[in-house]
Symmetry: C2
Subunit: 197 residues, 2 copies
């Protein structure tokens, strides 16, 4: 039987980038100096995991059926920007003046890991493009090998539905992750996106 | 009103070394891939904060009145090793063959931060030394400026009660933190501790 402290340290290792040593420091820190904050974290975490799901339209995280952005009446419904993760959506939203909608893949095509079109919700995306409201699909996957492969797949899917695919301009560093690109670069790349041939 | 997701990100920042960006990644990671682990963390964290307190004898964390080590019948009660933190106690326990008892300060003397002898439980330590069972006080505070000042204070306190103070041997790097010292160095320094003059 492990002690509560051992269980706490073990449980903290579920966090990304947190090994045994860091988990131990976190546990001691919470017990020594942040008991109130720790209790709040425990409560909010339980509630968040119970109530946060995926938006039925864009797949971003939300506690509602449809997220606030998709439900907004003031966004341009002819543009749809596809991103790999919610953090990428947030980075674009904060860095650019984009006023269209988003679609969040929660990943990228990675056949070796068993992540195909279905896992990324591409059947739903295809059906949405078929409805005819979207005229431009802005593909903002990461400039990595898998991100590029996913971009090509998405461009084909767009063309099949008569939708114009575009890709962020060069300026995003190769091999980088969108969410770590500085705002200026990201805004520039977004504004200078080019149609995919 | 902030969303549950925003509250979760904000709550995670209570963890040491976790800023906005890291908190965001942690939240997305839990929601995307670790819902079960996250729920377990929430439960264990709440329980740990409710039930883990300080051992009445050594001040280490425990969910009992007296911790397992203090309650053990097989430790040498004539030696008492003073450390700044539970992680330091763990490091010494794992690296050395020490069979005595511990006393955990949960900090070091730092007058500017309002941390004096009372905050470190030194009144209780003094009373314990006065009982006469302890013959050697092994002072294993960190080799930092504040750790050294604390060591000198502890050595005086020991001498007042007729207890021999000793300090870890040179070998622990100056300015370093005990818990990051490799086991070999720590074991060597512990074995070669010298009496304080
Ligand atoms: Zn949405
Ligand atoms: Zn104890």
């Amino acid at each position: 039987m492990s002690t509560l402290l051992e269980q706490l340290i073990e449980s903290l290792r579920v966090l990304p980038g947190v090994g045994q040593k860091t988990a131990q420091r976190m546990a001691y820190h919470l017990l020594d100096r942040e008991r109130d904050g720790g209790k709040r974290l425990a409560g909010v975490l339980a509630e968040a995991l119970d109530h946060i799901g995926h938006c039925a339209q864009c797949r971003d995280f939300t506690e509602s059926e449809i997220c606030a952005l998709c439900a907004s009446g003031s966004r341009d419904r002819h543009q749809l920007c596809v991103v790999e993760s919610p953090s990428d959506r947030l980075a674009i939203e904060q860095a650019t003046g984009y006023r269209g909608l988003y679609f969040v893949l929660h990943g990228r095509l990675s056949p070796l890991d068993g992540i195909g079109p279905r896992e990324l919700g591409l059947d739903a995306l295809s059906a949405r493009l078929a409805q005819g409201e979207v005229t431009e699909l802005i593909i903002a996957t990461n400039p990595t090998v898998e991100g590029e492969a996913t971009a090509h797949y998405l461009a084909q899917l767009a063309r099949q539905q008569g939708v114009r695919p575009s890709r962020l301009a060069h300026g995003v560093p190769l091999g980088g992750e969108l969410e770590y690109v500085d705002r200026g670069t990201l805004a520039h790349a977004f504004g200078g996106r080019s149609e995919m041939s």
